[in-house]
């Protein structure tokens, strides 16, 4: 098996890259965001890729993570590291409760239900002003360079934290895929009725995947809040900025594969950032437009993502050479 050598080389490269960059510069900021969104796509991948449950509501858990840690920090001075665990716990409970109405739903219905759930939380965050700051949002109290309070002047530490998050979540993804839960999820994905018949408790399997995915997503919400210092309900509970983006990142690269979300995030995030810089005010619309066009294109050309496109191309070339 050579895959782990490749993985180790990529990881070492990822660890060395920032030393060549300006630690407060723009490039490292884009890479840090790309790592964060790769991790988000990976967390979505556990539900969307392994279980084939198309969630359009992962912003619900992302936002819960961001709001929980920030509210605890503002009101009680609690370290975001602890807030992150609290957020993950709340998101896990939320995912567990949400599984009751969504347990039997498939395809479009599941997507609709998860979308509505994240909208419920967005509305609450926007109207419960005394706690959440309402539509204005929350600012993380500024106290730079404290590991305990997860705040740094330089972008470099954030880069390594996001890299760590991506490695951990990818590790969880790989571990699930090779565990008995992973085999049950695969059975569920291929044919839910058949899985049920051979004795897979499909309900329990779905709930396990949803709860793990939600908790991981919430930790990323906390990291996002600490990295950006400021967020409003739309930024963390938004359908397009979080839920759809998480799904697109995984699908564009290749849903169900461990490298898919990483490829997706490193294509989409730099592209969006570049468009924003080059095209200023109108750029926002244009980069989003490109985002939508890419989504439609990949679905029509190869719904299994860029990774499948590449492997198909490579095997076709090989066949041509050998013949």
């Amino acid at each position: 098996m050579k895959w782990w050598i490749t993985g180790a080389v990529v990881l070492v490269a990822a660890a060395i890259v920032p030393t060549f960059l300006d630690p407060t510069g723009y490039a490292i900021r884009v890479l840090t965001l790309a790592l964060l969104f790769a991790a988000l796509g990976q967390a979505w991948n556990i539900v969307g890729g392994l279980a084939n449950q198309i969630s359009l509501g992962h912003a619900a858990f992302f936002g819960l993570g961001a709001y929980t840690s920030t509210i605890l920090l503002i009101n009680f001075g609690l370290s975001p590291w602890i807030g992150m665990l609290a957020g993950a716990a709340i998101a896990a409970v939320a995912a567990y409760l949400l599984s009751f109405p969504t347990m039997k739903l498939r395809g479009h219905y599941f997507a609709l239900a998860t979308l509505a759930f994240s909208e419920v939380l967005r509305v609450i965050a926007g109207s419960w002003t005394s706690v959440t700051g309402g539509p204005v949002g929350l600012s993380v109290p500024f106290s730079p360079d404290s590991f305990w309070l997860l705040q740094f002047k330089s972008t470099m530490p954030y880069y390594y934290i996001m890299l760590g998050a991506l490695v951990v979540i990818s590790g969880v993804f790989v571990w699930i895929r090779h565990s008995s839960l992973g085999y049950r999820l695969r059975a569920l994905k291929e044919n839910p009725e058949a899985a049920e018949v051979v004795g897979v408790n499909t309900t329990q399997v779905k709930i396990s995947a949803a709860v793990i995915s939600a908790a991981l997503t919430a930790t990323l919400g906390t990291l996002y809040a600490q990295f950006t210092y400021f967020f409003d309900p739309e930024a963390v509970f938004g359908i397009i900025p979080i839920s759809v983006r998480a799904a697109i990142i995984a699908i564009l690269g290749g849903a169900g594969t461990v490298v898919g979300p990483i490829i997706g995030a490193f294509l989409i995030v730099p592209m969006e950032e570049m468009a924003n810089v080059l095209l200023s005010s109108r750029g926002a619309g244009l980069s989003q437009l490109a985002f939508g066009v890419m989504l439609i294109a990949i679905i029509l050309i190869e719904p299994r993502g860029i990774l499948a496109l590449i492997t198909n191309g490579v095997s076709r070339l090989r066949r041509r050479k050998s013949s």
């Binding site: 395809g107 479009h108 397009i240 699908i251």
Partner: protein, 286 residues
């Protein structure tokens, strides 16, 4: 009395909700696809009616017919180029093609029309009709009547014309419809065109009391889904009942909750219905 007034207001707006949601349920009924971009066609319909008012001097209630025609044509093109290709694809492809379409339309309107808010002025904008102690705003009444008119027209089309029957046959069994000499692809194009056209029409008739901007569709997304899920996805009659129900729930809930929580009540109704009876409370189960 405030309660009766709220119910009346709810029915007025509910009629419009019914019409904009019929399109969603029609497309699902014929193709089994949930069009996540449906609300964007409402935005486009509003823009067409707005420009018809601005440059041609057409009242939005007349312009709404133009909206219907233009968006019907656009819908046929979208069906031919995009939706047709994912008809037999797994749900993930169907979901994300329409989500992609949503992002594309929203940002195209943003780039082309700018992010400004636009509204029309009409002679009847501030008039109200008084029935005893109750009041109805004329723009609301007009939109309601136009909505009823279009729903009735759709009913006549689907039940009394050959095309309507052929469309329903395609919904029931595309293969059998094909064998009977019906061009199923053509029927799907008509269904998608009609679906988005109805939504655009509904957007145009509310223009006298609603401002239009590129993200106006957001306010209607979950609302439309609530209407169709209440009525049963795929059921046109269900969408009409669902529309009135959502209008009344929304309007009455403002008597008890702050206005920001208006949509929260709807979302909870939506999730509850999905949990208890995903095929809809009203109408036939598919």
């Amino acid at each position: 009395m405030a309660f009766i007034q709220a119910v009346l207001d709810g029915l007025m707006i509910g009629g419009v909700y019914a019409v904009i949601s019929i399109g969603l349920t029609l497309v699902f009924g014929v193709m089994g696809i949930v069009n996540f971009a449906q609300a964007e066609f409402l935005t486009l319909g509003m823009f067409v009616a707005y420009f018809a008012w601005k440059f041609l001097g057409l009242d939005p209630l007349i312009g709404s017919f133009l909206s219907f025609v233009v968006i019907f044509g656009l819908g046929v093109v979208v069906q031919m180029t995009l939706i047709q290709r994912v008809l037999n694809a797994p749900p993930v492809a169907q979901i994300f093609v329409t989500v992609g379409l949503l992002i594309v339309i929203e940002n195209l309107t943003l780039i082309v029309f700018g992010s400004d808010f636009h509204s029309v002025t009409t002679s009847y904008q501030t008039s109200t009709l008084r029935i005893g102690p109750l009041f109805i705003g004329i723009p609301y009444l007009a939109a309601f009547l136009m909505a009823l008119l279009s729903a009735a027209a759709l009913w006549l089309f689907t039940n009394k014309t050959w095309y309507g029957r052929a469309m329903r046959a395609t919904a029931q069994d595309p293969m059998a419809a094909n064998l009977m000499g019906i061009n199923a692809d053509r029927m799907r194009q008509i269904a998608f065109g009609l679906g988005v056209g109805m939504t655009a029409f509904g957007g145009a008739v509310i223009l006298p009391y609603f401002t239009v901007h590129p993200t106006v569709g957001h306010q209607f997304v979950v609302l439309m889904f609530t209407v169709v899920v209440l009525g049963g996805l795929g059921s046109v009659a269900g969408a009409v009942v669902g529309g009135f129900a959502v209008g009344v729930i929304q309007s009455v809930s403002t008597l008890f909750f702050p206005i920001q929580l208006q949509n929260l009540v709807l979302f909870i109704v939506f999730l509850t219905v999905l949990a208890v009876r995903p095929t809809g409370l009203i109408g036939a189960a598919r």
